[in-house]
Amino acid sequence: MSLTSTVKDSARIITVNADRIDAAMAIQFKEDMRTETENGPDHVILDLSAVDFIDSSGLGAIVAAMKQLDDHRKLDLAGLTPTVEKVFRLTRMDTVFQLYPSLGAAMATLEN
C-alpha cells in the first residue's frame, strides 16, 4: 500500500505516502510495517511528513509497529505535522518515541 522504504546511513527509512493513518487503514499499516522492518538495520525512522491526520487507531498501529521490533531496535518518528504532533503530545506518546521535526533532522543525528 502506501509505505516506501530505503536504507541509508545504517538506518531504514520508511515513508508513509498517505495523508492519514486512521481506523480504516490501521491494521494494514501495522502489517505493512512488519513487512518493511522484518530485516535490515536496527534503527528505523518513520517519515510522517505527508500525514496530515492520525486518530487513536493510527497511533495504536504505530505503537504496535514499535512493539513488533526486537528490544534492541528502535523506531524514531520524523516530520510530524501539527495535528499529528498534537495527538502524540496529548497522549504523552511524545515521551515514548524520539520525535524529529523532519527526516533531515533525524538523519543529521545519524551522521554525528
Binding site: 486512521d22 501539527p82 497522549t91
Partner: protein
Amino acid sequence: MTPVPTVFSVTFDATELDARRAIGQIVERLETSGLGDDQVGTVQIVLAESVNNVVEHSYAGQNAGQIEVECDVAQDALSIQICDTGTSLIDQGLPAGKPADVSGTRDTLPEGGFGWFLIRALTRDIAYHRENGCNHLVLSFHLA
C-alpha cells in the same frame, strides 16, 4: 478570519470507509466556514474518535446503521451533534477517558484506549442523551 455562522449535516453508513469520507467532507465545510487550521485539527481528532466509537461499539454485533453528524458553527463556538441508533449508553454512562499509562516498558505500552481521553481533553463540554431509540452526543468547542 471570524467563522461564518452556518449549520449543516452529513449522514452516512457506519463503516470505517464511509466515516473517513464523511469526516473529510465535514472538515472541508469547517475550513470553508472560516475555522483556523489548528481548530479544524482539534475538531477532526474529536470527530474521528467519536465516530469511530459509534462504528466500533455502538453498532457492534448488529447490522451497521447510519450516523448523522450535525454541525452548528457560531462566531465563537462550534457544536457538533452525533446521532446513531445503536446500543444505548444510558446504563454505562460515558467513559471517564483516563489517560493511558505510557510509563512502562515497550511490551506494556497501550495500543488503544486513547479515544475518550482525547475527546474529553479537546472539548469544552460533552452531553449525551437517548431519545426515540437514538443516541445523541453533543460536543462543544470554543472558537474564540
